[in-house]
């Protein structure tokens, strides 16, 4: 029998600098990668380190960050959600329809409707996955198409514009001198972090992702937890969709196309295991920042958006291979 106490002790003595560096990289590799990226970009472009540019990066990260927080819940519970980009567009369009000037219904109704639409779409995903036992990949791929189709039906394929100033404030306004989207991201992140770390639901998410069988044996209503993770993801997609609509000052039928890829990439780059049960929201936030910084940096360097997609894809594959090697 291995005595773990002795093992731990053995590990604590006589560690070389290389081992310590390796440990730091394994635990905080994401931060190291981020710093390296920032240094490279700062050296290669004089505009990169300006205040304006950073506000821009974080503002762009806000939407992806909010989506990625939701997707983190789903992936931690061993699922996947490909539908968040389409759900965001649908929520944004529905919310926008309540605030069209000259006679808007009201921003309160718009927010409630946008969040409700997202949550209901998440409930649909969760119900298909948990109760009908359909594969999450296929279900959410279907919802990606369904929600996008609903956007076109709802908007008749045309932008919904002339939105009320209160609504546009969500995208371009400031609160205490900080851009509103950044505040929204901060609140969503803090709430998600607290939920995963300090609540019964958060613990259930980790348990279900770590071992659905053991979670069930331990008395956890696994299906319920799974459904709730998709609802969280849908709800946050709704919030992201409204910020997106406000930022672009109109609900565009093609809004948020392929946003799910950046969100999933942020989660995976942030170290959350695609096999579930392991990962943190801090990692996800770092992952979202890295993607935002890469996008921004490539823009500044004049790399075409076609190449940007190639680069991002390579980074996702590299991140997944790291996850796989960690599991071995």
């Amino acid at each position: 029998m291995n005595n773990p106490a002795q093992l731990a002790e053995g590990r604590g003595t006589g560690r070389s600098a290389a081992q310590i560096a390796a440990t730091i990289f394994r635990r905080h590799g994401i931060i190291v990668a981020f710093v390296v990226l920032v240094v490279i970009l700062a050296l290669s472009n004089q505009f990169f380190m300006t205040w304006n540019n950073w506000t821009n990066i974080i503002r762009q990260t806000a939407i992806n960050g909010v989506l990625a927080v939701g997707v983190t819940f789903v992936i931690l519970a061993k699922g996947i959600d490909l539908s968040v980009g389409s759900i965001a567009a649908l929520s944004g369009a529905v919310a926008a329809s309540f605030v069209v000037t000259p006679d808007p219904v009201g921003i309160g109704m718009a927010l409630v409707a946008g969040i409700a639409v997202g949550t209901v779409m998440g409930l649909f995903n969760g119900a298909c996955v948990a109760w009908l036992k359909l594969p999450a990949f296929v279900v959410t791929l279907g919802t990606l198409s369904i929600a996008r189709g609903l956007v076109y039906i709802f908007t008749d394929g045309r932008p919904i514009s002339n939105l009320s100033p209160e609504f546009l404030w969500l995208g371009s306004g400031y609160l205490f001198g900080i851009p509103v989207p950044i505040i929204v991201l901060a609140v969503v992140f803090a709430a998600g972090w607290f939920t995963l770390r300090h609540t019964v639901f958060g613990r259930h998410v980790y348990a279900v992702g770590g071992s659905p069988h053991a979670a069930r044996t331990g008395g956890i209503r696994v299906n319920r937890v799974v459904v709730m993770t998709y609802m969280v993801s849908g709800l946050l997609a709704g919030i992201a969709g409204m910020i997106l609509t406000a930022r672009t000052t109109a609900a565009l039928p093609q809004a948020g196309v392929a946003y799910e890829l950046d969100a999933i990439a942020a989660v995976v780059i942030g170290g959350t295991s695609l096999s579930g049960g392991r990962g943190t929201l801090v990692g996800t936030l770092m992952g979202a920042l890295i993607i935002g910084t890469i996008n921004n940096g490539l823009d500044l360097m004049g790399v075409s958006s076609y190449y940007q997609q190639v680069v991002k894809g390579l980074i996702i594959i590299a991140a997944v291979s790291l996850d796989v090697s960690r599991n071995r």
Binding site: P4, L7, A8, H198, G210, H213, R216, G219, G277
Partner: protein, 318 residues
């Protein structure tokens, strides 16, 4: 605690003049093939001698390092009101019309060959496996099928057959595994009370003599015996009255096995009831008051411990 038993000789090979040093904690094997035994414990040489000179119990005592306490509670709970009542339970293709009761203070064993339906029966009683017909009543209350959460609420807990698959959340810390079933009780408005959880984990870890550097280590890092203790700690956390154990000592060493028997014994001494499946007849004979023999999905006979021995158990299943 490290226990190794070495022995020399195996039929064909040694007949040709070869010698074998055989290292195992599977005692049956040793009695079958060995001529002499040598016991090591905690890295030290303990004793050597001819294997014919001692009994299985004496060998176990040498390996474990202390006398085995023998169970004195013969025929416990024989006339108490049953705690668990199972009536006509069937699982399609696996279990046929099984009725069984377990009284407080009683250990009922399930014995049978592989595929005899023991695991399916236990899973159906607890609710993690399907149940096609039959009733399960705990302390007079009906339990619906497929609801392990309600089984736990009705004071049942289960140690499943495969601890790595269905017993533990392997990547999660030991502490989180222990508190898994009672998160509702150590939280307020859905927010966990960290101190209550820490105390719970420390208390159960001490009671079960769990060996781990810290309860923040992932359960995956523990040895088999200690992993099983974490599973049992999770079970005991909800203060159950009935403990269902499916092969509770599979793949763990002799020392941890004996500790688990002691835990079961203490649990029963405090008025708990145990329903336990095992494919080791000796284990059931050591621990149980009654042994229910399963054959091809049916319960063929219940033998009281006083009348049970390895021969008649084997006779019943084959």
């Amino acid at each position: 605690m490290k226990a190794i038993s070495c022995s020399t000789r195996s039929a064909g090979f040694s007949a040709r003049g070869g010698g074998i040093i055989y290292v195992s904690h599977r005692l049956e094997e040793l009695f079958e093939i060995a001529d002499t035994y040598t016991v090591f414990r905690d890295g030290e040489f303990i004793e050597t001698g001819p294997i014919a000179a001692l009994t299985r119990e004496e060998l176990v005592a040498l390996i474990v390092g202390h006398e085995l306490h023998t169970h004195t509670h013969s025929e416990r709970g024989a006339d108490a009101r049953p705690m668990l009542e199972v009536e006509g339970l069937s699982v399609r293709g696996k279990v046929r019309d099984v009725s069984l009761t377990v009284a407080p203070g009683e250990v009922v064993g399930l014995y049978g060959l592989m595929g005899a339906g023991r695991t399916e029966f236990l899973d159906a009683v607890y609710g993690i496996g399907p149940r096609d017909s039959g009733r399960v009543r705990m302390a007079g209350r009906d339990l619906p099928p497929g609801r392990p959460d309600l089984a736990i609420r009705n004071r049942i807990a289960m140690v499943t057959e495969d601890r790595k698959l269905s017993g533990l959340v392997l990547p999660a810390p030991i502490r989180h595994n222990i508190s898994l079933s009672i998160l509702g009780r150590i939280s307020r408005f859905g927010v966990l009370r960290g101190r209550a959880e820490k105390a719970l984990s420390a208390d159960l870890g001490r009671r079960l003599r769990l060996k781990a550097a810290s309860d923040q280590m992932p359960a995956a890092a523990l040895s088999g015996g200690n992993q099983q203790k974490v599973v049992i700690a999770r079970c005991l956390s909800s203060a159950p009255k009935l403990l269902i154990c499916d092969e509770p000592t599979r793949g763990i060493d002799e020392g941890a096995k004996q500790e688990i028997y002691t835990i079961i014994d203490d649990f029963v001494a405090e008025g708990g009831a145990v329903l336990m499946a095992s494919s080791e007849a000796l284990e059931l004979l050591q621990v149980c008051d009654r042994i229910a023999v399963f054959k091809k999905g049916a319960l063929v006979r219940i033998i009281p411990r006083s009348a049970a021995n390895q021969q008649n158990l084997l006779h019943e299943v084959s």
